[in-house]
């Protein structure tokens, strides 16, 4: 890699008495999961290229508590939330961007009631904004005319009514955006939400990610775009299960843009 990633921490900003424009909440998947780390890096590359002043919490970041809350452990959730809020408020954070819709939803909707109120945006919204402000440019060259379908993450779409930002970005790549049978408000879950990511599914006749992958394959895409590290894993597994990994890539929107920009 020619350029090393520049990933300043909040502690460094604080030490120099300055504030970044935005805090990048990396999340557990983005920090630890091998596939999701690539998304994190792609997003950072774009931020670096656009000279966005951002910071991460690094070792001061901890799970938002989302999987604990959806599993029914409100106690553990609130312990996590209150601890994180203390850190965030300590740094007087105003704006947060994250590439994980679960972190996005939890911090945006469930933290305010516990004393943590911030402007929270999903990375696709943030990228769209950078684009509108002319801070990044997108030449769709290598994706021109490619059939790309977008899988709506439940916690971005239905949960928070964000449907257009990721789609606008795909269109900007001059790609052919194709929709699945169930999309937007009626998008089918990948099967990972509600803490399902961390357990075996209940007995049934099919796994949910397989059902969703079949819907995606029906749209005959060359790329399945995702906006959530968990959806990404589920769809990647689904594509492998269908032995289509050589012809169909599962990519995050940030990865699409970073690739298009040759970052």
């Amino acid at each position: 890699m020619a350029n090393e990633l520049r990933v300043p921490t909040m502690a460094e900003f604080f030490a120099s008495g300055t504030m970044p424009e935005v805090l990048f909440w990396v999340g557990c998947a983005g920090s630890f999961d091998d596939r999701a780390k690539k998304i994190t890096k792609a997003f950072v590359k774009i931020l670096n290229k656009a000279n966005v002043s951002f910071a991460v919490l690094g070792t001061e970041e901890s799970c938002t508590g989302d999987p604990a809350k959806r599993a029914g452990n409100e106690f553990l959730f609130q312990m996590q939330a209150v601890t994180n809020i203390e850190v965030l408020n300590g740094y007087e954070i105003k704006k947060i961007v994250t590439a994980c819709p679960h972190c996005f939803n939890t911090i945006k909707n469930e933290y305010p009631g516990l004393g943590g109120t911030y402007e929270v945006v999903h990375h696709t919204q943030f990228l769209k904004q950078l684009l509108t402000e002319g801070r990044i440019s997108m030449e769709g060259g290598m994706f021109k005319g490619k059939r790309i379908t977008f899988h709506d993450p439940c916690y971005l779409g239905r949960a928070n009514d964000v449907y257009e930002a990721p789609r606008d970005l795909i269109r900007k790549l001059d790609a052919e955006l194709v929709e699945m049978k169930s999309c937007k408000q009626r998008g089918l879950c990948c099967g990972a939400g509600g803490a399902q990511m961390f357990k075996e599914p209940e007995k049934g006749d099919k796994d949910i990610n397989i059902e969703r992958t079949e819907q995606a394959l029906d749209a005959k895409p060359e790329i399945i775009a995702a906006g959530c590290p968990f959806c990404n894993t589920m769809m990647t597994d689904g594509v492998k299960n269908k032995e289509k990994e050589d012809s169909i890539a599962v990519m995050d929107i940030a990865e699409l843009i970073a690739t298009a920009e040759d970052l």
């Binding site: 609130q78 928070n160 007995k203 049934g204 006749d205």
Partner: protein
């Protein structure tokens, strides 16, 4: 004896309405067995939601065929009720077609009732076919066996019979008007009645009067019967859809409520000045039970949701767990909640309004943990509901009970939660390694 029909009618009306009022008060009592929740906020938004979703049927038409058929029956039901008002007044005062004084307006009214009645008959037959001939998948799930299936068909039969009686009454009336029968003043326009009327051509006037009167009486008696059938049926939605959409959730769907009781405990734990050995205050309230294991643990809005559910199954149809053959069906969650609530209500009726523990509860006896753990919390069921029911909130409350009161989470989830507790991530990675990705190439 001249006033006998009037007296009989008033008695019928009073009994019908009286019985209905009694059932409604029972319904209200049962709903308010639920916990209090504050829903007095955002009145303007709530009225708008009710106008759009219940009155305007905006979510019904997401599925165009079922939506269009439903709009016909709905509009028919609402409009034809104007006629019911006339029938009631006629019944009480012994008049005939009291509103005919409206002249041409009356012609338009009667004509539109007739056209709507015919459309309702067509729609009802189509609905019946969808349930019994086409056998749409969502109508033949396990929870629909027995009474729910019968109930669905019975409603259609009653509606069919009511509309046929209405048109028969009009046709006979029209024919009597043509014959110049006393009491049957020429009033109204009968686009459908006049087509049926030739069937009555060879019938004597006196027989025809009997036909007309019989249809009239059976029609109004049928309506009063139907009114009282509601309480025992999924058809309650025709009334409850309105309050239910008013009290429906306004927060983003992803926002799950933060438990106040937990917040208090967490705050105390985080407070360095808190005395861990302090005795609880004398007047301290008994701490809330975490989550829900029975209907009384749910909020009254959730219980209202249960009574509002008309078992259309759109939720279950959209549910990813249900689509892939898991046991979970959001519709069943709502039906179970209502069934258990009815059971609790019946126990109270038998014990002078006092609930006696019957050794049963919503959890396990109705809803199994297997169903609860199959949910991905994706909100597809909430989005799909045409009357703003939130099955997910009940699933979540019951999960909270399983985890916080019974420590009964699946092992995998316990491991995940253990990881979060110990190292701040759902996987066993060290928090100190959280930034390692930035140095990896």
């Amino acid at each position: 004896m001249q006033y006998l029909p009037n007296i009989l009618f008033v008695i019928l009306l009073l009994v019908g309405i009286g019985f209905f009022v009694k059932n409604i008060s029972k319904l209200k009592r049962n709903i308010f067995l639920g916990k209090d929740v504050s829903v007095s906020d955002n009145k303007a938004q709530r009225w708008t939601n009710m106008a759009k979703i219940a009155l305007g049927q905006t979510k019904m038409v997401v599925r165009p065929i079922a939506g269009a058929l439903h709009v016909i029956v709905y509009v028919g039901f609402v409009i034809i009720n104007i006629e019911v008002l006339e029938i009631i007044l006629d019944g009480i005062f012994g008049t005939h077609r009291l509103f005919s004084v409206l002249g041409p307006v009356y012609d338009v009214l009667i004509a539109s009732f007739e056209v709507l009645a015919l459309l309702v008959i067509i729609a009802v037959i189509a609905f019946w076919a969808r349930r019994n001939l086409i056998r749409l998948k969502r109508f033949i799930k396990p929870e629909m066996e027995g009474w729910p299936k019968q109930d669905g068909n019975l409603i259609l039969y009653i509606e069919l019979v009511l509309m046929v009686l209405f048109l028969t009454m009009n046709a006979a009336d029209y024919q009597l008007q043509q014959m110049g029968a006393v009491h049957y003043v020429k009033a109204g326009a009968y686009p459908i009645g006049s087509i049926i009327a030739p069937l009555f051509e060879n019938i004597s006037m006196s027989t025809l009067i009997v036909v007309e009167r019989t249809a009239w009486w059976l029609h109004i008696a049928g309506i009063l019967f139907f009114l009282n059938y509601l309480y025992y049926s999924k058809h309650l939605h025709i009334l409850l859809a309105f309050p239910n959409t008013y009290y429906g959730r306004l927060m983003p769907k992803g926002q799950f409520k933060n438990l106040r009781s937990v917040t208090d405990e967490v705050r105390m734990m985080m407070d360095p000045d808190a005395d861990p050995y302090a005795e609880p205050a004398e007047d301290a309230a008994v701490p809330d039970k975490f989550g829900a294991s029975d209907v009384q643990d749910l909020s009254w809005v959730q219980l209202l949701n249960a009574y509002t559910c008309t078992e259309c199954g759109r939720c279950t149809d959209e549910c990813p767990a249900s689509q892939t053959g898991k046991k979970l069906s959001p519709r069943k969650i709502m039906m179970d909640t209502r069934d258990r609530l009815e059971e609790v209500g019946n126990i109270m009726d038998k014990n002078n309004g006092e609930f006696k523990d019957d050794g049963k509860q919503l959890l396990n006896d109705y809803i199994t943990p297997e169903e609860l753990w199959a949910c991905t919390t994706c909100n597809a069921c909430v989005e799909a509901c045409p009357v703003s029911i939130d099955p997910l909130s009940i699933i979540m409350d019951m999960r909270q009970y399983l985890v916080m009161e019974q420590s009964a989470a699946p092992t995998d989830l316990n491991n995940m939660m253990g990881n979060i507790e110990n190292n701040g991530a759902p996987w066993p990675f060290n928090q100190m390694d959280r930034l390692n990705w930035s140095k990896e190439s």
